[in-house]
């Protein structure tokens, strides 16, 4: 199957180096301490953060840093065919773990000893790149909750199909069987915190694809900063400052 046409257009009409449209909204879950919706094209996720608060399970308490927990869940209606058993399968356990580790790397956990931070991400629509969208949503929700962080984490994926590196794969491109490189970076510190790839790829091409994904992360980080700034300005205005 042809994923990039001779004119250099992808199935959904994007250029190989083009991202899907991003949209973010802060404060969508009224009861949570911090929350955000993040959309990358048709992929849509909600993240909610509760905490820092008292540790619910005493045996998990850490005396010199905060406990970070994460749960990833997919809505029954999030995929093309209806999901039957959405809770607690291996894929969601793995993604929960990945998100937890990525977010833990940027939260200043030593400032909040003996406390717990819960991150819940809920996928409303899955169209490829849920992992990245979840990390971006979680970053926004953590920022909304006012949790101290080293830097914001942003994530983006890239792949390689029809001998062309492609940025931000959608579901059809993702299931084509080619490699899928997911990267998360701390843009200010210029560090990679998450790197995952499936399928095989020559080293020189991998370098290209990873470079492309990192560029994608930087673009996401610019957008996230814009959203956060807009949100802060609005809060400032509401307070009458």
């Amino acid at each position: 199957m042809e994923y990039v046409s001779p004119e250099g257009l992808r199935l959904d009409g994007r250029r190989p180096m083009e991202m899907r449209q991003l949209r973010a909204e802060i404060g969508t879950v009224a009861k949570a301490d911090g929350s955000a919706v993040f959309e990358m094209g048709n992929t849509k996720v909600i993240a909610a953060v509760y905490g820092p608060r008292e540790v619910q399970n005493r045996s998990q308490q850490i005396s010199d840093q905060a406990l970070v927990r994460c749960e990833y869940s997919m809505a029954n209606f999030s995929t093309g065919d209806r999901l039957r058993k959405p809770k607690g399968d291996r894929r969601s356990t793995e993604i929960s773990l990945v998100i937890r580790q990525t977010m833990e790397a940027c939260i200043l956990t030593h400032l909040m000893p003996r406390s717990q931070i819960d991150i819940f991400v809920q996928v409303l629509q899955a169209d490829g790149g849920t992992r990245s969208a979840c990390i971006n949503a979680a970053t926004l929700a953590l920022a909304d909750a006012g949790i101290p962080m080293r830097d914001i984490v942003t994530s983006c994926s890239a792949g390689y199909l029809n001998s062309a590196p492609l940025l931000d794969l959608n579901y059809i491109e993702d299931s084509a069987g080619g490699p899928d490189v997911t990267v998360a970076i701390l843009p200010k510190l210029d560090k990679v915190t998450l790197l995952q790839m499936d399928a095989k790829l020559p080293v020189d091409i991998f370098e290209n694809v990873m470079g492309l994904a990192i560029e994608g992360c930087k673009a996401v980080s610019n957008y996230i900063k814009e959203v956060l700034l807009g949100n802060t300005k609005q809060l400032e205005y509401r307070r009458g400052l």
Binding site: I46, Q56, A75
Partner: protein
């Protein structure tokens, strides 16, 4: 679930006794209701309903299936509710399962009528394509995103809105088949059939706190309830289903009184919901 001090409890109970609740409402006033349709483009129909800080999404997906042997002239409809952990940390893992099941069963009872499908909000025989062979299976999924009490009423409203947003693809038979063969069908991707949603009831939950009862309780008020009765009423004012929750007993005469109050409240709610759904659909078409 909700940690309240003695003073706060007194304040809530006292407010309800004086017909002035903590958020300034009267006992029988709903919070403002906001409806948004078409939020899940992948589904056949979807809607998001917000009732104060309560926020739910309902989606409708239709799949072609085979009708059951006992009821060959009827399609199948199922309602599932899921409580997302984003709504409250207690729903983490399997924590939300009990509440999810309770809500699913209550909604099924209130909206789908009896086992035979009699008295259902949607006519199951309208889902049949070929009698005994092909029918549409309708899966209605509710998702609780944020919870601030009165989930049942919000979910019922969301399902009503999602169903009026639903378009089922028109199905043509490809060729005449005989005997036991499964007929081949063509699913049209241009023509869609709409449901008649005027018969779908609304659910009004009356929560009893102290000696009075209130509608649309917040989670703080729900924590003070002794019992609650959910009554589903359709446009004609007929009662389609009834569920009582909570331990404390109710005097039968009070239940009858509650039903007549629910009937009265449901009239206003139906009108309000209809206008909100119409407005949501109009704004969806514009964009």
């Amino acid at each position: 679930m909700v940690g309240l001090s003695v003073g706060e409890k007194h304040f809530i109970q006292g407010g309800i006794a004086q017909d002035l609740r903590s958020d300034g409402r009267k006992r029988l006033t709903y919070r403002p209701i906001y409806v948004e349709t078409g939020v899940i483009p992948q589904a056949h129909g979807s809607a998001r309903v917000r009732l104060g800080a309560t926020d739910v999404i309902a989606s409708v997906k239709a799949e072609l299936g085979k009708p059951s042997a006992l009821q060959s002239d009827k399609g199948k409809i199922a309602i599932y509710v899921d409580c997302s952990p984003t709504a409250a940390p207690v729903f983490e893992g399997r924590g939300g399962e009990e509440l999810s099941t309770e809500l699913s069963i209550a909604l099924q009872r209130c909206l789908l009528g009896g086992k035979s499908g009699a008295g259902a909000g949607i006519d199951p025989s309208s889902l049949v394509v070929v009698e005994g062979k092909v029918c549409w299976d309708l899966y209605i999924d509710g998702l609780v995103i944020s919870s601030d009490g009165n989930l049942l009423d919000a979910l019922a409203a969301a399902i009503k809105a999602a169903l009026s947003n639903t378009g089922i693809p028109k199905v043509d038979l490809a060729a005449e088949t005989t005997g036991d063969e499964q007929p081949e069908v063509n699913i049209s991707d241009e023509e869609f059939l709409q449901f008649d949603t005027s018969g779908i009831p609304v659910i009004v939950t009356l929560t009893r706190v102290g000696r009075h009862y209130i509608v649309d309780a917040t989670s703080e008020e729900e924590s003070q309830m002794s019992s609650a009765v959910s009554i589903s009423v359709n446009r004609k004012g007929h009662i389609c289903g009834l569920t009582k929750r909570g331990g404390a007993g109710l005097d039968p005469s009070i239940i009858l009184d509650m039903i007549s109050v629910a009937k009265h409240v449901s009239e206003q709610l139906t009108i309000k919901l209809d206008s909100e759904i119409a407005a949501a659909e109009a704004s969806e078409e514009e964009s």
